[in-house]
């Protein structure tokens, strides 16, 4: 229960950072290319033992609350639900069954730095790519969208590391 409250708080903080900081950030010519979505961290890091339908409903609620601020009803919802749906199948294909503990949440310490970096990069790439495809909704700039998704996924992974370093428990 406390874990869920913590996750809720983390999502709230990420929402504030996303809507009021990252979306407003002015970085000159690169503005149009760099628009990372960081709120997927909560869905990615929830423990894999959670039922997929519950995860998808949570993703739906989170996506809706982001959408209300960004004035794009359905866009963030759809991409976050995509992440929630593909999370467990991907986890099983990338790692072997005993490669992770399904009861513990996924982060850099529980499944290892390189493993989580790779896993979150794949998840974030899917998240961004799906988001940009629905946003544009035509396929003649597919290579640009792929590159954009990859770069923004890398930036978001960097942000995940930052969040992990901030929230880590010091012994």
């Amino acid at each position: 229960m406390i874990g869920f409250l913590q996750k809720g708080l983390l999502f709230f903080v990420l929402l504030v950072v996303q809507v009021f900081f990252i979306d407003q950030l002015d970085i000159g010519q690169a503005n149009f290319f760099i628009a990372p979505l960081i709120y997927g961290l909560v869905i990615i890091s929830l423990p894999p033992s959670l039922e997929i339908w519950l995860l998808m409903v949570l993703a739906l609620i989170m996506g809706l609350s982001i959408d209300l601020f960004r004035n794009t009803i359905g866009l963030n919802m759809s991409s976050l639900v995509m992440v929630a749906f593909l999370k467990n199948p991907l986890l099983n294909t990338i790692f072997s069954k005993d490669g992770y503990d399904p009861l513990k949440e996924l982060n850099f310490t529980t499944i290892g730095w390189s493993n989580f970096l790779f896993f979150s990069l794949v998840m974030l790439f899917i998240h961004h790519f799906w988001f940009y495809i629905i946003e544009d909704f035509h396929f003649n700039r597919l290579h640009v969208l792929l590159l954009k998704a990859l770069i923004n996924a890398l930036i978001s992974v960097g942000f995940f590391i930052l969040v992990h370093l901030i929230t880590i428990k010091r012994k």
């Binding site: 503005n31 149009f32 628009a35 997929i52 009803i73 759809s78 003649n140 700039r141």
Partner: protein, 275 residues
């Protein structure tokens, strides 16, 4: 029957996923295809409008110098227009308050409390709404030039469709030749550029030329600056030019805006219906 139930049971997650995606897409395309989506949940809502305006009131302090500069530049322009006009008027016998003349356009100042420019569908939120007399389809201009058109109105807030949105279309004209075109924001445009279509290829359009509003839609008065030409291309096989312009208003730093009310828009609409 039993097989169907078993099928649903074994694929329940996939079915739920598909159901949610269908709902999302329905919402999204409903939202996109109805430009006037004020009846849906949006930032024009009281709650989200309030949160956004708190954020704007905090961040506006950081931009005071920039805002002041913009305003004083605009004042300079207006002053020069005003004093030049006085000299002209005094030589003729024209009365400013003559009942023959009627004030066609009203202007209402408002703050931009939320602006987007990184997405394909950007929306701005202003802090004036129904209670201030804002209605749908009113034009919005900034210190320098055109910003967009009001597409959603709440009690105290309104949402604006800027040029940098897939859905934006407006009749504009080339200032030198007075030839009409349509401004659009295509997929290869970024947040500083837009495309003007339908200008005939025999018109001489050169780099640096000014594109302004044509006044044809009745939303904006004639001659409001939209942007300057940065690239001209002939489309092969057609008689038209493809003109890229640099938008004069910088959407990354936009704080002041004026909502334009056309007092004769009712008549304009009636005439349009008769067509």
């Amino acid at each position: 029957m039993r097989n169907i139930i078993r099928l649903i049971q074994s694929n329940s997650n996939l079915l739920l996923f598909l159901l949610i995606q269908v709902i999302c897409f329905a919402l999204l395309f409903n939202w996109r295809n109805t430009l006037h989506h004020s009846r849906y949940l949006s930032s024009t809502n009281q709650v989200f409008g309030n949160i956004l305006s708190i954020n704007a009131s905090i961040t506006s302090y950081f931009n005071l110098t920039k805002i002041n500069q913009g305003l004083s530049l605009e004042n300079e322009l207006l002053n020069s227009k005003l004093y030049n006009q006085e000299i002209l008027v005094s030589s003729d016998f024209v009365f400013l308050n003559d009942s023959v003349y009627k004030n066609q356009y009203g202007f209402l100042y408002s703050d931009v409390i939320s602006s987007q420019y990184k997405n394909r569908e950007n929306i701005l939120i202003l802090n004036k709404g129904l209670k201030n007399g804002v209605r749908l389809d009113m034009g919005v201009i900034g210190d320098v030039g055109l910003i967009g058109v009001v597409v959603g109105v709440g009690n105290y807030y309104c949402s604006v469709l800027p040029i940098i949105n897939n859905k934006f279309e407006l009749a504009v004209r080339h200032k030198k030749t007075k030839s009409f075109g349509v401004i659009k924001w295509l997929s290869d445009d970024n947040w500083q550029t837009a495309t003007v279509e339908d200008i005939p290829s025999y018109m001489k359009v050169s780099l640096g030329d000014v594109i302004e509003t044509s006044g044809a839609t009745g939303i904006f008065p004639k001659g409001i600056l939209v942007g300057t030409v940065i690239k001209v291309e002939e489309i092969e096989g057609t008689q038209f030019l493809n003109v890229k312009i640099a938008i004069s208003e910088d959407y990354a730093s936009i704080y002041n805006s004026y909502i334009i009310q056309n007092k004769l828009r009712g008549q304009f609409k009636l005439l349009k219906q008769g067509e």
